[in-house]
Symmetry: C2
């Protein structure tokens, strides 16, 4: 995905560009899929830290939080979901492999899922990341 920034702000042009696929088609949602490898065991096994990270990421990305569920596994690992009006953020961690799977799904023009991504990656500090953005709900919008 081509991404441009204006001093950290998202321009109205960029917001529009993210949703308009081509003439007459638009995407309802944007879904960022993240594979984070080489994270520290301590971070991936800390539900309070991961909860704060996802909640702060949602706020920074201009999302409105509806609720959240975080679950700590025995002997290790955390699953957490933050439900937002603009869709959801989720994280599932496997500290034994240094791996976290993260999904950031947003709709609308005001939330910027890549701001949430930046915040989460800064907190997790993975040694390697694979990331992709899927457009969800591509529909005919006229034009």
């Amino acid at each position: 995905m081509f991404k441009f920034n204006l001093g950290g702000l998202i321009s109205p042009v960029q917001m529009l560009a993210e949703r308009v696929i081509s003439r007459g088609l638009k995407a309802i949602g944007r879904h960022i899929i993240v594979e984070a490898f080489g994270c520290s065991r301590e971070v991936l096994d800390n539900p309070m830290l991961l909860r704060k990270t996802l909640m702060d990421a949602a706020r920074k990305a201009n999302m409105e939080i509806c609720g959240e569920i975080f679950h700590e596994f025995n002997p290790q690992g955390v699953t957490g979901v933050v439900v937002v009006k603009e869709s959801h953020l989720s994280i599932h961690t496997w500290p034994e492999f240094g791996y976290a799977s993260i999904d950031i799904f947003t709709c609308g023009s005001y939330a910027d899922p890549w701001k949430a991504y930046d915040h989460i990656i800064k907190a997790l500090r993975p040694k390697s990341v694979q990331v992709m953005e899927l457009k969800r709900g591509i529909i005919w919008s006229g034009g």
Copy 2:
């Protein structure tokens, strides 16, 4: 994905095949991404029905439920997430477009995300569906 069934049961061979990518590599998680178009407005705007559908889907797929959050929007639309020990199920609906985006993410050998998929599709009865399975967390497992 090649999928085979033995009278509706999943064989141990199939469960293993779902996780082993090739010699020495396995996937920690399986993520089914569903784009459902042409669903009825009544179904997509019914949070109680969608909640029951996802909860039943989780149980049928052999998942253990940790919690759930469903949110109804004004004037329309529902967002819902069921967090399970094996990861999560989510749905976001846009009744005005007849569209629902559904994600089913499972880990482990006992949960079968495709059973959850079957149950959800039966309830939503979309006119068209796009579906894919992503392997999440592909790691070296020796061998």
